[in-house]
């Protein structure tokens, strides 16, 4: 996804001279071409996230469209108050990129874990929060974020993630149906989409019933209309997220359902509200906490048996 981000950024900067990129000393050998072509529009502020956010605010006030970048844990947690007050409160058009969101950096310990990035950014009124699932969604969503006159956050992954395609287009604020299916619907955000697709492929290869899959790349504002529609037509919902239990996709979904009295049974697969110690491999972490493709398969099978 980072390659897609770099390429999208480069091409958007070509089209729009207002695009300026700031990094908090992150992105080794990623932005060379950008910096070379647009030297003034590439700024390494140093390991100074608060300054990065405030400088972006100043640039936005002068009519620029800043995109700021660090790894997700440092991009969101550290300068949280600056993002809230200097970007959110005045509603400035700055795109905050958190690279390696969720447990991308599972092997690097809790300091690099960003299970809370979506929750933190979602707490800010007026903030648009997206977690694309593959490079295609990154490429499609970045230009849409740059059109906003308000701040946004995009969680991206690392390199080499699997790509997928679907008939439905990638529209900011719109959930995207990746697979059709009856009675059981999986709702994902971010990199859980390809994991759920793997699970569905497994189910199909086993000759089993397979569920619908909706990718909520936009967590805030959540696609209420689509959510209500799919929740009403399903008999079991399974939310899969690589985020803390509070404040992520699951939290947003259950709030919507509860407010509307929609009682479709719902289950969450995802990491717990706990520190993940031991620097596990990401796939082992997902297995340990029951949100890998096999766990999804088990949950779907169980759901269909119950129905």
């Amino acid at each position: 996804m980072r390659r897609a981000f770099v390429d999208a950024l480069y091409s958007l900067a070509e089209q729009d001279p207002r695009v300026v990129f700031l990094t908090g000393d992150m992105g080794f050998e990623m932005f060379e071409a950008f910096a070379h072509k647009y030297p003034g529009r590439y700024v390494n502020v140093g390991i100074a996230e608060a300054q990065m956010v405030c400088a972006a605010a100043g640039l936005a006030l002068e009519g620029f469209r800043p995109v700021i970048y660090s790894i997700a844990s440092f991009a969101t947690g550290r300068p949280y108050e600056l993002i809230k007050i200097s970007l959110g409160y005045p509603s400035l058009p700055v795109v905050v990129i958190g690279a390696g969101g969720g447990y991308c950096y599972s092997v690097s310990g809790p300091t690099h874990h960003a299970a809370d990035d979506i929750a933190l950014m979602s707490l800010i009124p007026g903030m648009t929060v997206v977690a694309p699932g593959d490079s295609g969604e990154v490429t499609a969503l970045l230009p849409q974020l740059l059109q906003l006159d308000s701040p946004s956050y995009m969680r991206i992954g690392k390199f080499g993630e699997p790509k997928y395609s679907a008939d439905e287009p990638i529209l900011l604020g719109k959930a995207r149906c990746l697979e059709t299916g009856a009675d059981v619907a999986i709702l994902t955000t971010g990199e859980m989409a390809p994991i759920a697709l793997d699970a569905i492929a497994l189910l199909k290869s086993q000759g089993r019933k397979s569920p619908a899959l909706y990718q909520f790349h936009t967590v805030k504002p959540i696609d209420e209309e689509r959510l209500v529609e799919l929740a009403n037509s399903a008999r079991q919902l399974i939310v899969v997220e690589e985020s803390a239990p509070s404040g992520g996709l699951y939290a947003a979904v259950i709030a919507q359902l509860a407010q509307r009295g929609i009682r479709t049974p719902i289950v969450r697969l995802g990491p717990p509200d706990d520190w993940v110690l031991g620097n596990p491999q990401r796939k082992n972490l997902r297995m340990r906490y029951g949100f890998d493709s096999h766990a999804i398969v088990r949950q779907v099978v169980e759901a269909y048996e119950k129905i």
Partner: protein, 276 residues
Amino acid sequence: MSMACTANPSLPVGKLEELAREIRGECLTLAHQSGEGHLSSSLCHIELLTALYFAFMNLSGPQEQRDRFILSKGHGCLSWYVTLAKHGDIPHDWLTSYAKEGSPLPNHPCKHSLPISITSAGSLGQGLGIATGILYGLQLKKQPEPRCVVLMGDGECNEGSVWESAMFAAAQQLDNLLAIVDYNGIQAVGKSDEISGHTDLAEKFRAFGWDAVTIDGNSMPQILAALSHVPFTKGKPSVIVAKTRTMVPFMDGKVLWHYRVPSAEELEIALKELQL
């Protein structure tokens, strides 16, 4: 009170001092009427604001080319509002609404309610960084003339983000950046020198690659002299460390007056001491 004036760089020192005195008197009256605190934070930097708005900043002509002013120490906004009214940027009759519900002049400036304010202040340590972004942007737009002046508190300089911004400003050679630190020695719950370990603000900024002067921040001649040399060194941002006091003797040096509002009697004494 006086009529609003427009910026006039050739105003004599005496006239500027007179304006400052009037602004101070109006602040005291408004503080009493509104019941809103943070008075001393507002009183100490009045000469600085007067000099900036009436003698230093370019505030006429196309908006884009004007100097920018950021009140980073947002809690000290009362005197800024009065200065804006005197300068003709806001209607004078807005002042009586200061800090009232729904006012365009809340106790911390809000860009939504007062669009001419560049920032929504109230959380310290952000104005300097925003200024660096503005100036960097102006560089990209090939507009080197406008300057950005940021008024900060000495307590505010406790915030780490101030030093992140200071580092960036020097590294980017933003020499059209002028920071002014209102060094009144008082913070919310203590004296700034004790909290900072009696270290020198000007030296700190110099260590970060700035050029700095320390002045008596209530002396109009010293303020004007310092401003006339900005930027102090080409290629370096400038800071004026301005030692200030409220200029109301019974309020000076007391942490109490950071929050307290003058009673009617205290207001009368203060206005008398200012010869108003």
